[in-house]
Symmetry: C2
Subunit: 398 residues, 2 copies
């Protein structure tokens, strides 16, 4: 088991404090700082109603460089118009001034309720203390500072050799609801001391996200604030990873693995979730078909409530798969729960009810839907739909 002491990345300092946005006394403002300007890449929500900090970061990330990230929880600063952008810029300025770095090298992020202005005085008033408290072991505090309805912190950590050097990666994330499509109400900040060229980082980060954060779903909703950012400060001194470099694959592996761990943690902590369900669609004609069907099953409320009820209701699964207008050969489609076949040749397969009932009680369950049409596949992780999901979301007030 890793202790919080393990969550250190050479050249990175972090902190998280309470400024009064959260009424329960929890940390609500986080800062990540790299000892030297880092190569940076970012992936953001594709929602048309982008939050103010997303609009700012999308511009700033174009430089391929960032020095710090400041993020608050509790208020999303989304749908706040030009005033919201001005607020986010004010937060950035307060941080850059206190850190003594160029303002454009600060990235900003927010998560929480949509439509409220940032409590600017609380935030800027806290920046001095936030900066003063920066320390190498502060990553878990920063994580605490970005959590909202999350029930547990999500921190992942990897070390690996690149040439003769060891590189370190550490990622923090917050999520809970609104996972999929295309990331969660999700903030994810990845720190690494690897030396990597900007275009290689950008490319590899996007690819790793496609197979991790973009392959999960809690409720099929998409946030206005989704932000995933990676900072690579190069302090590991490894030979710079470039496109075509033989170390590219190795770094990709480390990063993908790290992001997948965070993504799975987001699903496990899906609002109200009691189970993680891994849905793999195989034998599709195209990746797109496999993906659409996997998501249709993952986002079906009837499927999700069946898993909560621990009922292997395969009828709801095939019904969801069949509802997209993709012409499936009903008599060739096979459905498996773990290794137990449930449906084949156009009908249900009985006889292993006891085994199935045991599988349905597990906290992590895999299902596989083979379409019998081609050779493409896609996997999506989702959670069940529970009383607590309704409770959390009916009572999370504006």
């Amino acid at each position: 088991m890793q202790t919080s002491d393990d969550y250190r990345v050479p050249g990175f300092l972090a902190n998280g404090i309470h400024t009064g946005i959260k009424t329960d006394g929890g940390r609500d403002l986080a800062l990540i700082y790299s000892a030297r300007p880092a190569t940076a890449a970012g992936v953001f929500t594709t929602n048309c109603f982008k939050a103010a900090p997303v609009l700012i970061d999308q511009e700033r990330i174009l430089s391929g460089m960032a020095h710090a990230v400041i993020a608050n929880s509790g208020v999303a600063n989304a749908a706040t118009g030009p005033e919201g952008v001005a607020d986010a810029l004010a937060v950035s300025r307060a941080a850059s001034a206190e850190l003594g770095i160029a303002d454009e090298t600060v990235l900003v992020a927010s998560t929480g309720v949509i439509g409220h202005r940032l409590p600017l005085r609380k935030i800027t008033g806290g920046v001095k203390k936030l900066v003063a408290g920066l320390h190498a072991g502060g990553i878990p505090d920063a994580e605490a500072g970005i959590m909202t309805t999350d029930r547990f912190p999500k921190i992942a950590y990897r070390k690996g050799g690149i040439g003769t050097k060891e590189v370190t990666l550490c990622g923090i994330a917050k999520g809970a609801g609104m996972i999929q499509p295309n990331m969660a109400t999700m903030l994810a900040f990845i720190m690494t001391d690897a030396a990597i060229a900007r275009d290689a980082l950008d490319r590899i980060f996007r690819r790793s996200i496609a197979g991790s954060f973009n392959a999960i779903s809690v409720d099929g909703c998409m946030s206005t604030n989704d932000t995933a950012v990676i900072l690579a400060n190069g302090l590991a001194g490894n030979p710079e990873i470039k496109r075509g470099s033989r170390y590219l694959g190795r770094f990709w592996e480390l990063l993908s693995d790290l992001l997948s761990e965070l993504a799975r943690a987001l699903v496990r902590d899906g609002e109200g979730a009691t189970k993680v369900i891994e849905i793999t669609v195989t034998e599709a004609k195209t990746h797109r078909d496999a993906q659409r069907i996997a998501y249709a099953v993952a986002n079906s409320n009837l499927v999700k409530t069946a898993f909560f009820g621990e009922d292997p209701n395969w009828g709801r699964i095939i019904s969801a798969a069949g509802s997209l207008g993709i012409d499936l050969p009903a008599d060739r489609v096979c459905l498996f729960l773990e290794d137990v076949p449930l449906f084949a040749v156009g009908k249900g397969i009985g006889g292993r009810e006891e085994e199935l009932s045991g599988i349905m009680k597990r906290p992590e369950i895999r299902m596989r839907l083979a379409l019998g049409m081609g050779c493409r596949s896609w996997t999506v992780c989702t959670s069940d739909l529970t009383f607590d999901y309704v409770k959390i979301n009916a009572h999370y007030h504006t």
Copy 2:
């Protein structure tokens, strides 16, 4: 208030009995019979995994004629392979033999759990009694025979003049969960004594369904059994309604109105629903955009739980609308709850919280999202997402 005596359509007899499929003693087998072969049209699920009775009806409806409809609740006879088709044919044969009519003029329908074979002995054993009990006032009994998790019967009734004659329309429906896309786990049977040509009936029925059953959503799931059938026996003696006839519009109006009443009743009785929410998207570039956005809002679990929590959380509404990849002008989009503006010029509009809180307590709430892009619009009705939805669907076991 109409009593059950009102639900009579000249030339139609109906009945519903308990045969033992439902364990609570409720009616589970329904029959509708027209004194003479009726002009018929049908619309069926587009799910790839069509239930056996749907496969049969799709063939039979091609003749444009039907004499009777027999339907059971409790078992859907879906995903039952060739045996399921044989079972459904056996039910049809039992009915046609007892009624003394041609077998191909019987339509069959089932609703209930997927993947179970029909309890054939119970059903065919009940047919004699079912036929013997046919009576002009039997429509409410037939409705009871097709209900599953429905909390109340859905019967709609219209009379109207066509030329110098009066025509009668009566429709029964069952629904509850799995409404949208493209109809519910829904059975709907419409009876009318109007005289109408087959192609006119088919066309007008499809159009009326587009604006009624296909404009509602409970949980975004699509059933394997959706069936909507209309039988027109011509006994009203009106001048036959044809394409191009001046009575076509009048009949369309009556039918649309009837179907809309049934559709709205399906939403009101959505599983666990406490509210009906009418979502109108206006000023879209295309109908398709308006429809997609209306459904994205209607099917957003975050929006649905917010309504259950009586919270005017407009952030979730615009976030759902913005998540489809349709390029919305964030600063031109306006959102209204009833007549209260919530969002405009890229940000929230405060100041009428008390009024909004009153609106959110109503059982029926309208919202309007004006996109500022064009002149197309679409309306979808949906229900909220509640503890009871989860309860019903987590415990409705296979």
